[in-house]
């Protein structure tokens, strides 16, 4: 098999007595949109955190773009092309929307030991930031203070910041968390448009979105992978229905 | 040999005294997440109250009991008036607000008791030496301090590990919101915990008074040590505070006694006499820095925060 872009093998993580990640193995080929689903407490966010580097796995390996990144710090993974969005909005609330994205651009535009020139006048940074904002439809809010945005706009900003660093792969942790039906539909459109350009690992609860977007799905329950495969196969899987989708799942 | 035993006991006594101070600090810190720089002021008040009440009543014990009660009341008043508004805020706010309280209390004490400080004598019935080992005598008063603080430590252990309130304290140290959600009167609990911390600080202050000092600003000096202990031991952990306090007490006392000599043997008289005083004082901070580099959460980090 061709070397997948992301390859996770035997990942384990314990917190005291609790096993959050239990021997998780799966892979994501280049260009795929791979969804991770499972009930609350299944360890989905913990898994993402280990992939992006906020947490270090106890055992197991993570390979990305051919290199072992298991012990690589989070900031360096970003430079390798792995970008993450957060389930609980994590922005620079006291800065402007444009400043937020510009920082994400700046991180990938050489070093920041520049002490004299005004960073807000660097056209390279500002333009790339505006482009990322336009791409998610927030261009008109560029000058607003981030704290003043609606929740839906925050989720879009999360996405813009992940995109700003021109990553190869996106780790999206519940991008639709807390969105109403209209906003959710728009987010699904947005994600669909990103599908072929980026490899995406998507954690989501919204089953309609998942089955509409995903090429393959991994199901996580109590930190363990109980199923892995194409959407139809997952829908039909008895174990999955028991654990998560429910008897009358009709998506 | 005698000197060694004596300094060991001094180290123990100092460590236990520091534990009283640090226990209150770590409790308030661990449960209310409150950085209280004014803790040293309560220590100072305990000493001043004791000096005054002992003079009024003519009895050290009576004076001590009244002083602890007074410090407890002041502590609870401070909690209700000032501390309540700081809960949940940035640590910077705590630091600034309680720093302001230090200024306030220093001036208040100056207003009430004058700038000159006070003295408190060792009670006559403890003013003798006890032969703890054949040929080795140790001041009875210092032994009394050791006994009292060990008793308080035991009481704290029982309180925290075996009573309902203790359970709430331990739960609060792990997860504040949950305790509130359980319907416990959080406000009252916090006031009581703060009061307990204040009483412990006051007790420490009054007990050291006959040996060391009763003066304005005495809190600022010892507060740092108490914080160092809290940090080394792990915030919120009384057990950690106990171990760290003894460690700090020993190292500081033994260090000041024997380090200059040790340094002299290593570096020669001249070099040692210049470096020793400074280095002895710095030992504690070097210890803390070293521990934090290896274990940034302290020796016994409490709960999940």
């Amino acid at each position: 098999m061709a070397d997948a872009l992301l390859h996770v093998a035997g990942l384990c993580k314990r917190f005291g007595g609790i096993v959050a990640t239990d021997d998780v193995t799966f892979e994501v080929p280049d260009g795929e949109l791979h969804a991770i689903i499972g009930p609350n407490g299944a360890g989905k966010t913990t898994l993402i955190a280990q992939l992006s580097g906020q947490l270090t796995a106890d055992t197991g390996r993570i390979r990305f773009a051919g290199g072992d990144i298991t012990r690589v710090p989070a900031w360096r993974r970003s430079h390798l092309g792995l970008a993450r969005s957060f389930q609980i909005t994590s922005l620079f609330l006291d800065l402007s929307v444009l400043d937020n994205v510009a920082l994400a651009v700046q991180a990938h535009a050489g070093h920041s030991f520049r002490f004299w020139r005004n960073a807000r006048l660097e056209t390279g940074l500002r333009q790339a930031a505006r482009d990322a904002l336009e791409a998610v439809g927030l261009g008109h809010r560029a000058e607003a203070r981030a704290s003043l945005l609606s929740h839906g706009e925050h989720r879009l900003l999360e996405l813009a910041m992940a995109l700003a660093g021109k990553p190869r792969m996106l780790l999206l942790d519940e991008p639709m968390a807390g969105l109403g039906p209209d906003e959710s539909a728009r987010m699904v459109e947005m994600l669909a448009s990103l599908k072929r350009r980026y490899t995406i690992l998507l954690v989501e609860h919204d089953m309609e979105a998942v089955f509409a977007l995903a090429d393959r799905i991994t199901v996580l329950v109590y930190g363990r992978v109980i199923a892995n495969g194409a959407p139809d196969a997952i829908r039909a899987d008895a174990q999955v229905r028991d654990a998560y989708l429910g008897e009358d799942a009709d998506v | 040999m005698t000197l060694f035993v004596e300094q060991c006991l001094n180290g123990l006594q100092f460590g236990l005294l520091l534990f009283l101070l640090a226990a209150g600090l770590t409790l308030v810190f661990g449960i209310m997440d409150l950085v209280n720089l004014a803790h040293g002021s309560l220590y100072m008040l305990g000493a001043y109250f004791a000096a005054t009440f002992t003079a009024w009543t003519g009895s050290f014990v009576f004076g001590a009991v009244l002083a602890i009660a007074a410090t407890l009341l002041v502590g609870m008043a401070v909690e209700v008036i000032a501390m309540r508004r700081l809960y949940g805020r940035d640590h910077l706010d705590h630091v600034l607000g309680t720093f302001g309280l230090i200024l306030f209390f220093d001036e208040l004490v100056r207003l009430i008791w004058g700038p000159g400080g006070r003295s408190l004598a060792v009670p006559p019935w403890l003013n003798h030496s006890v032969a703890i080992l054949p040929g080795i005598e140790y001041p009875a008063y210092r032994l009394a301090i050791i006994v009292v603080t060990l008793a308080v430590a035991a009481f704290l252990y029982v309180l925290v590990m075996r009573t309902r309130i203790g359970m709430l304290i331990r739960a609060g140290a792990s997860n504040r919101e949950m305790v509130g959600a359980l319907g416990v009167n959080i406000k009252l609990l916090y006031t009581l915990i703060f009061g307990l911390g204040a009483a412990l600080a006051g007790l420490a202050g009054l007990m050291q008074a006959p040996i060391l000092t009763v003066q304005i600003g005495m809190g600022e000096n010892i507060l740092i040590l108490a914080f160092v202990i809290t940090v080394i031991g792990g915030i919120g952990s009384i057990r950690g505070a106990f171990v760290a306090a003894l460690l700090v007490g020993f190292i500081d006392t033994m260090g000041r006694s024997f380090f200059p000599q040790l340094l002299g043997d290593l570096l020669g008289r001249q070099a040692a006499s210049t470096a020793a005083p400074a280095l002895s004082s710095m030992l504690i901070y070097i210890l803390m820095a070293a521990i934090l580099v290896v274990k940034p959460q302290g020796l016994f980090p409490a709960g999940s925060r």
Binding site: W116, G165 | H91
Partner: protein
């Protein structure tokens, strides 16, 4: 569009003017005390500006910043004591020792967070305090006097109080300009991002430690220069300069003046030192009509007011003086707009 003529900006302009023209006032009135007081204010304002860089902009609560005043000061004093009175050696040395101390302290402390960071910076400052206190050769607890002020080979005479004042003032303005450029640069954006959300900064690809350390060293070095100035000002250094409560005073100045603003630290230093100087007299004046006998004494206890005042500022006026000016400016602007509407 009202542009830059806001109350806040006008106040800042007035402040700059007052500071620049002070020696003229002193020459006219002969009030030399004001010159001494304002020199002290300007030097401490510079120290506060340096602390504001890491506290206000980067969110690093260092409780050991006064140590750099001591380190810079002692470097100058010790070199003077050892027969090196030249500023061309003393001042770069003061910068170098401060930078080195900041590098070591920062490298060890910045790995911790929150209150642990506060404690460890405080501990290092106490170490510096005890080092100075325990070194008999340089005066120990009694401190060390300077035989002469730093010599600039006759080019600048620091013994002339007016000249010295202007040297300090120029350095204060230079440090403000430096902080202004720094905070708007790429480097400054990183610091602000760290203050806002360090975890996100790391997630988007910034190795935050090295930037925090750089900021820490810059701030410490700047404060070391202020220390060299203060040694010259008082012709004396002592360990007490570095005691942790002095670091507390610096933090108070930064917060009182308005954290994360350019001129906030200057307002803060001015406010604190003015309060220190004039609050006793003000209190005496207030008490006098009621009880003339104890009026004088009453002034002594000014810190009883200062303490709770700090608490009030923390609780209700978090933006400090700069914040209040900003709020007032906004009110005035809105009132104007409403009036013309």
């Amino acid at each position: 569009m009202t542009g830059a003529l806001t109350l806040r900006n006008l106040t800042i302009a007035a402040l700059v003017l007052v500071l620049a023209l002070l020696p003229l006032y002193v020459a006219l009135t002969g009030d030399r005390f004001m010159l001494t007081l304002f020199t002290r204010i300007v030097i401490l304002a510079m120290a506060a500006v340096s602390l504001n860089l890491i506290l206000g902009y980067a969110g690093l609560m260092s409780f050991g910043h006064a140590a750099y005043l001591g380190i810079g000061g002692y470097t100058v004093a010790i070199l003077c004591f050892e027969g090196v009175p030249s500023a061309f050696v003393q001042w770069p040395a003061a910068l170098a020792t401060s930078a080195l101390f900041a590098l070591i302290v920062g490298a060890l402390s910045l790995r911790t967070r929150g209150v642990y960071f506060i404690m460890i910076t405080l501990a290092f400052a106490q170490m510096a305090y005890y080092l100075a206190s325990g070194t008999a050769r340089y005066g120990g607890d009694d401190g060390l006097s300077l035989e002469s002020r730093s010599g600039f080979a006759g080019l600048i005479n620091l013994s002339n109080k007016t000249t010295f004042y202007y040297v300090c003032l120029v350095l204060l303005f230079a440090s403000i300009v430096l902080v202004w450029r720094l905070t708007n640069s790429r480097f400054g954006m990183v610091l602000q991002g760290v203050r806002s959300n360090e975890a996100r900064m790391r997630a988007i690809g910034f190795p935050t430690f090295r930037y925090k350390l750089a900021g820490f060293v810059i701030a410490g070095t700047m404060c070391g220069l202020a220390g060299a100035l203060i040694a010259n000002h008082t012709d004396f250094v002592s360990p007490a300069m570095m005691f942790w409560t002095r670091s507390g005073d610096l933090i108070v100045m930064v917060v009182l003046g308005g954290m994360g603003t350019l001129f906030g630290p200057v307002f803060g230093a001015l406010a604190l030192l003015f309060l220190e100087q004039f609050l006793p007299a003000a209190i005496s004046a207030v008490v006098h009509p009621f009880d003339p006998a104890s009026a004088a004494r009453a002034g002594e206890f000014w810190q009883i007011v200062l303490g709770p005042l700090l608490l009030v500022v923390v609780l209700f006026a978090r933006g400090g003086i700069d914040g209040l000016l900003g709020a007032l400016s906004d009110r005035i602007q809105r009132a104007r707009k409403g009036g013309h509407g």
